[in-house]
Each structure stands twice: as structure tokens, then as C-alpha cells.
């Protein structure tokens, strides 16, 4: 057993903490930057820094277990003939077959369908497992266009034009060679085993004016039936959301820097982009100024873990949220039962983020058939559906306490902030005060 150095009066540097020292040592030994999965791990202003003001004298609460609190959401009714009607505003974010096993994709589809929500493809195309098990499937349209084809486009329930993601706004994707199996390579038209790069820019459009034409093309190809989403990584969110709305998006997805990835440089994940909490109010303001709030739906992702997070997003003006990392944890990622194997890989349950390596003991972020077989898609789907239901019920509990008969009735007035940073970002007052830093400027 190691002793606790601090008990002997030793002081760890806040600037050069153990993780920082390890990163320097690793860089010095290997000469290569660190690539990993997951999202930003640093402490950030987040939804934990907000609290709800439950009803009391001046507000009437709704009776738990008795009075109805709606959770349904319609996504994409601005232009599409067939918008998505979901039972819960908690959706599953885009994650690729390639990054995840086919069985994991199937489990995501099963769980989402069971809970009445949507799931999303990723970079690498649509698999039959996922389409077959997903009642509502969003088909991502990415710069790489790996596996993109009009037959699958017509099979999709919605189309998501991806400009970026919160873990790496401005960066393309990567899938290292150990995960490029014959099936993955075939779907992406690549040689088996190469380190695959996904482009960071779309090959046939640049900027919002082109995007407007591109969105119309996708609508024309699919006879204006399907909602078209635009997904952006959170950076200049106010302007990006305005431009996406003007380009004709039915739904805008804003992914904060806590949003996960399968493989990105650590320096990119931790230092590019802004927190979800900072992005959401910017997105809402942009839509409100365009007269499009609640007409163009807003989905927020990046660090959503609980019904409290869902309710806070709703209160700040989102129409729905998307979960990725949390969904994988629900399937079994980082489960303590794999502790011994995580240790063998130099990690630990609760810390494992080497999704790029393809050696996931939980059988989720892998293409190794033996490992992938550890995940039962039926059981995984059941676990995910349970988790989605819990999140939805938690959000309802909070909404009822605030006197709201639908999650979408939650409003910023229901919130206060615990910290000055969160108050300034969320634009709700610091708890116990009527002060919002920067308000009125």
C-alpha cells in the first residue's frame, strides 16, 4: 500500500499536479501527444452550479404521482413533413460504428426505442443493427461522408449535418488502425488497419450561404420529409446558431466541451471550446433574437448526467438534450466488475478513457469480437432504457416542484446560481441575490 504523502506534510503543486507531471513524463518518453476518448475532464462551470427554486408561497407546486407533467417533444416541425415525436427530451448523441461495436450500437437503438427517444449514427455510416433497433434514427452527414449513401438517407428519420463536436470544435475525426477491421474499413472505403482521418471541413460547402444550399439539397433528395439538424461544437455559439438557423436548420444541436469523443488529442479536448453551461444561453438568445426560439428546436449535449441536468437545460431554453458518455456508462462502460482488466491496461474503473485503443474490457468501444461479445445488446438496451426513464422522472420531479405541467414550462426564473461564474454564464441570479454579473450591459 502507498502511504498518503500529504499526511506527512508534503504539499502537492496545484500547477504541477500528479496528472500534469505524468503528462510531461509521458510526452518526454514517447515524443507523441496523448490521444484518448471521453470529453473534458477538468473542472468546469456546469449545471451543478445551478439550483432550482421550488414552489412555496408565491408559486404552486404540482402533486407528485398525481398531476401530469408532460415530457414529450416534437423535433423538426419547421419544414419537415415528418418531424420526430419523442416521449422524452433525452436523446442519444451521435457515436460511430467503428468507435463502438455493432452490438453497442444495437443496444443504444434498443434502449432509445424502448424509452421512446431517438438515437444517432456517427462517422462511418448506418449499420443494420442500429437501423433495425431504432424507432427514431438520426443519420449524421459528416465531412468525411464515410458510408454516406442516398438509400440510408431515405431510411433515416432525420438528418444531422455535423459541423463539429464539443470535444474538438475545429477538428476532424480519427480512428486508429487497431479499430479499422474489415467491416469498418469496408463501410468507410478504406484499407484495413490504416489510421483513418476524418476531414474537419465538408468537401463541397464552406460557410453559411453554401450550407443553405446544401440543406436544400438534402431536403430535395428526401422530398422534404425529414427534419434537418445542424450540429455545432460550442465556441462562438451565439453567431453559429444564428447562421445555422438562417441556413434553414430545423433543429440545432449545440455540443459543449464536456461532450465525449472516441479519439482526440488530450490537449484539444481540454483546451478548445466552451462549457455547455456557457453555450446554452448564447444559443437561446440567438434563436430568440431571430424569432425562432421553440420554432427551431435546440438540443444541448456535453456533460448531461441526470434529470437535474435535463431540467436545468429545459429551464434555460433547450427543447431536448443528448447524452453520449452517460449512455455508454449506462451500458456498462467503466463498470467496477472490469476493475482487474482496467488495471492491466494501466487504468481503473471510473477512469478508463482509452476508447481509441479498441481494448475496452466492457466490450463497448471495441471492434474485437471477443470483447464485443461481452455486451449483451438486449441487456444493454434494458439498462439504457432504465437510465433514460430515471432521468425523465427526475426531471419531472423537479418540474412539478416548480409548478410546471410540462418540462418545457421550466424557465430561467426557476433557477439561481451558486457561483459568480455560473451566474454570469447562465444569466440567472446568484443565489440569495438579484445580481447577474454582466447583466444590463
Amino acid at each position: 500500500m502507498y502511504d498518503d504523502p500529504s499526511a506527512r506534510g508534503l504539499r502537492e503543486s496545484a500547477t504541477f499536479d500528479r496528472a500534469t507531471i505524468h503528462a510531461i513524463q509521458r510526452a518526454a518518453e514517447t515524443g507523441v501527444y496523448d490521444i484518448r476518448g471521453w470529453g473534458a475532464k477538468r473542472r468546469l462551470p456546469h449545471f451543478d452550479d445551478l439550483l432550482f427554486l421550488g414552489a412555496s408561497m408565491s408559486r404552486y407546486p404540482l402533486e407528485g404521482y398525481r398531476e401530469r407533467c408532460g415530457t414529450d417533444v416534437v423535433l423538426g416541425d419547421r419544414h419537415a413533413t415528418f418531424p420526430l415525436h419523442l416521449d422524452t427530451p433525452v436523446t442519444i448523441a451521435g457515436m460511430s460504428f467503428g468507435a463502438l461495436s455493432g452490438r453497442a450500437k444495437e443496444a443504444l437503438g434498443r434502449g432509445a426505442s424502448d424509452a421512446g427517444t431517438s438515437t444517432t449514427t456517427g462517422d462511418g455510416g448506418m449499420t443494420p443493427e442500429e437501423r433495425g433497433q431504432s424507432k427514431h434514427l438520426v443519420y449524421q452527414y459528416l465531412p468525411s461522408r464515410y458510408g454516406m449513401n442516398p438509400d440510408d438517407l431515405r431510411k433515416a428519420d432525420a438528418i444531422e449535418v455535423v459541423l463539429g463536436q464539443g470535444a474538438k470544435p475545429g477538428g476532424g475525426g480519427m480512428l486508429l488502425g487497431q479499430k479499422i477491421t474489415e467491416r469498418v474499413a469496408g463501410m468507410r472505403t478504406l484499407p484495413v488497419g490504416v489510421d483513418q482521418r476524418s476531414a474537419c471541413r465538408h468537401p463541397d460547402w464552406t460557410g453559411p450561404d453554401d450550407l443553405e444550399i446544401k440543406i436544400r439539397e438534402l431536403r430535395e433528395i428526401t422530398d422534404w420529409e425529414k427534419p434537418v439538424y445542424v450540429k455545432i461544437g460550442a465556441t462562438r455559439t451565439y453567431y453559429d446558431v444564428k447562421l445555422a438557423a438562417k441556413a434553414g436548420a430545423d433543429v440545432i444541436v449545440v455540443d459543449g466541451m464536456q461532450g465525449g469523443t472516441a479519439a482526440t488529442q488530450d490537449v484539444f479536448i481540454e483546451h478548445v471550446g466552451i462549457p455547455t453551461l456557457a453555450a446554452l444561453p448564447q444559443a437561446v438568445r440567438a434563436l430568440q433574437e431571430e424569432g425562432l426560439h421553440r420554432k427551431v428546436q435546440l438540443i444541448v449535449s456535453g456533460g448531461i448526467r441526470s434529470g437535474a441536468d435535463v431540467a436545468k437545460c429545459m429551464a434555460l431554453g433547450a427543447d431536448a438534450v443528448a447524452i453520449g458518455t452517460a449512455a455508454l456508462i449506462a451500458l456498462g462502460d467503466n463498470h467496477p466488475k472490469w476493475e482487474a482488466e482496467y488495471r492491466e491496461l494501466g487504468s481503473a474503473a471510473g477512469y478508463y478513457d482509452d476508447f481509441q485503443a479498441g481494448r475496452d474490457p466492457a466490450g463497448i468501444s471495441t471492434q474485437d469480437e471477443e470483447l464485443a461479445a461481452r455486451l449483451d445488446p438486449v441487456e444493454g438496451g434494458r439498462r439504457l432504457a432504465n437510465y433514460l426513464r430515471v432521468m425523465t422522472m427526475e426531471a419531472q420531479t423537479i418540474a412539478r416542484a416548480c409548478g410546471k405541467a410540462h418540462l418545457h414550462h421550466l424557465e430561467p426564473e426557476d433557477l439561481v446560481a451558486l457561483t459568480i461564474e455560473a451566474s454570469a454564464m447562465a444569466r440567472v441570479p446568484l443565489a440569495g441575490t438579484d445580481w447577474i454579473p454582466g447583466a444590463g450591459r
Partner: protein, 233 residues
């Protein structure tokens, strides 16, 4: 939908009267037949998402994404085309009698794209199996990240041809201003001459000698990330 005149075998759509939506909707419903599109006036998204062996003739210039995601159909543009001509085409034939703007044939998986004039920058970007034949020259960054398929250029190629190329094959008859990262000239062997002959024949460019072309492909040196190659990325 607005009324369309229907001669014996060819349906005519006059885009000065009818909309792009009218045109594409009718083409999606048709399973066969010939179509004549008049007065396109540079409209975007003409004849996109076709999925049947239709014969479509567009008389005039077309805008962005003409014949995008084409399957099975033959689309001929008697004019110039805008950005992303035949982008992500899966099968069929698209022929541009004039010039094509940038990103012609982008990400296309199959079929044949013929540009009789010049194609601008990024022709064949991220191509995934399509055959592209350009009668004139192509602009910079053509076949960028090309994964599969063949690009044949009867004129010259601009800067950074085949940058970050995977397995797409490139043939150029004229001058190549520069090659992109990991793209190299390769020996023309018998099977490559046959490739060129086949593409010229498919494009009906029968008066060009296949032996005048040179071949370019991936050196495959950047297939795996290596810190020693960092200056090439």
C-alpha cells in the same frame, strides 16, 4: 404539381414556369423515361437523388450539387455546373458539356462523371470509387484524400494534386503543378494503360492516345501516424 407537357417519349420541364421541387419530385416518382429540362438559369439542386435509369438532359447552366447522389440515371448538362456536381454519386453517368466548379464528384462512390471542359479546385475530393474524366484541366487539391476510384485529367492539374491520398488512382496527360503530401508519380504498366483506355472510351474521348498519360498514387507513407512525419501533416 404543375402541369408538364409530355411529348411521345420525353417529358419537358420548363424551370421558368415550374420549380426545382416540381422537377425533383417528378423525377423521384418516375421509374424510366427521358426528361428535358429547359431554362435552368443556374438553379441549384437540379436532378438530385435520382434512383432510376432515367435520361435527363439539362439545357443551360446548373448551380450547386447538380445530379447530387445520383443512382442509375444519366444526366447531361449542356452548360456549366456549380459546386459539387454529382457529389456522392453512387452509380449512373453525369456529363457536363461545359466546365464544372469546385468539388466536382466529391465523395462519389460510383458511376462516371465526365466534365468535357475544365473542373475547378478539389475535383474528386474524398472520392470513394467514382470514375471521373475531365477533358480539360483540374484545379488545386484535386483528389484530396481520395479513397478509391479513378481520376483522369486530359489537361493539366493544379497545386497539391492527390494530397493525403488513400487508394484512388490518378492519371494526368498534361503538366502537374505540384503533388500533395504523400502523392507520388508511379510507373505506367499495362493494366494502367488499359485503365486509361477504358476511361477514355467511357467518356467518348476516343481521339486521345492513352500512352500520353502519367500515373500518380499514394506513397502510403502517411497511413499510420508517426511523429517523424509531423512536418508532412
Amino acid at each position: 404539381m404543375a402541369t408538364m407537357t409530355t411529348p411521345a417519349v420525353t417529358t419537358t420541364v420548363d424551370l421558368s414556369v415550374q420549380s426545382v421541387r416540381d422537377l425533383n419530385s417528378a423525377l423521384h416518382k418516375a421509374r424510366e423515361g427521358s426528361w428535358h429540362v429547359t431554362r435552368p438559369d443556374g438553379a441549384h439542386n437540379l436532378a438530385v437523388g435520382l434512383d432510376a435509369p432515367l435520361d435527363v438532359r439539362i439545357d443551360g447552366h446548373a448551380g450547386y450539387y447538380c445530379a447530387g447522389m445520383n443512382q442509375h440515371a444519366t444526366v447531361t448538362v449542356h452548360g456549366n455546373t456549380g459546386v459539387g456536381t454529382a457529389e456522392n454519386m453512387m452509380s449512373g453517368t453525369v456529363r457536363v458539356r461545359g466546365n464544372a466548379s469546385q468539388s466536382a464528384g466529391a465523395t462519389a462512390h460510383g458511376g462516371l462523371l465526365v466534365v468535357e471542359g475544365d473542373a475547378a479546385a478539389r475535383c474528386g475530393i474524398s472520392m470513394k470509387g467514382v470514375d471521373i474524366v475531365v477533358g480539360g484541366s483540374v484545379g488545386h487539391m484535386s483528389a484530396f484524400m481520395g479513397q478509391a476510384g479513378r481520376l483522369l485529367v486530359c489537361g493539366d492539374a493544379g497545386d497539391a494534386l492527390g494530397d493525403s491520398l488513400y487508394e484512388a488512382r490518378i492519371y494526368v496527360r498534361g503538366r502537374v503543378k505540384s503533388l500533395g503530401a504523400d502523392c507520388v508519380e508511379k510507373e505506367m504498366r499495362g493494366e494502367h494503360l488499359e485503365d486509361v483506355r477504358e476511361l477514355l472510351t467511357a467518356a467518348a474521348f476516343t481521339d486521345i492516345d492513352p500512352s500520353e498519360f502519367r500515373r500518380y498514387g499514394s506513397a502510403r507513407a502517411l497511413y499510420h501516424f508517426d511523429v517523424d512525419n509531423s512536418s508532412a501533416y
